[in-house]
Symmetry: C2
Subunit: 105 residues, 2 copies
């Protein structure tokens, strides 16, 4: 999870993710999109790969990068959990208020 959120904590990497979820890109194809060196983009892709957010597959002399929606879903599920436990607290507070109301009967 650390690596997953860490990988998402950079605008360039988030942009790469959104691109490779739509279509395939070679590493150099991605590098063309950004105003930084090829090596820098290569590092970003490596971070995304370690976080399981993308896969790389060799095709000829190119390395094809694809997005992995399952990793996105893993992160989303954790945030869903947070919303859930928050909602439970709200519900609990609602219950307490209901109890107070019945006390006053």
């Amino acid at each position: 999870m650390d690596r997953l959120f860490q990988a998402l904590a950079d605008a360039t990497r988030r942009d790469i993710v959104s691109r490779v979820l739509v279509a395939e890109y070679s590493v150099s194809g991605l590098a063309e999109q950004y105003a930084m060196s090829f090596a820098a983009v290569q590092k970003h892709v490596a971070v995304l790969e370690r976080a399981s957010l993308v896969t790389k597959e060799k095709r000829g002399r190119e390395q094809i990068v694809r997005g992995r929606v399952d990793a996105v879903q893993r992160a989303r599920r954790l945030l869903d959990e947070y919303e859930h436990i928050w909602r439970q607290r709200i519900d609990r507070i609602g219950d307490l208020l209901a109890e107070d109301a019945s006390d006053q009967d």
Copy 2:
């Protein structure tokens, strides 16, 4: 967004978030929960605050920390978007296959 995901990229901070979404904690109350110095926890809370994941409210000599579900939702919505654009690609591929099928008619 950078700060949001950066804040979530640490297990201690995620644990703090899950706690303060359930109940209120003072900073020292949180610090008791972890095997690190008070100052370290204080820094984590500061990171979460800059990311809008928690709020601090002074109450007497204590500082009460509360979780902000809206920030969690902002992060979740971005991940939802990613899933959405991925699904669109899948749909597009489905459409292409359907076209191929009709070509063969």
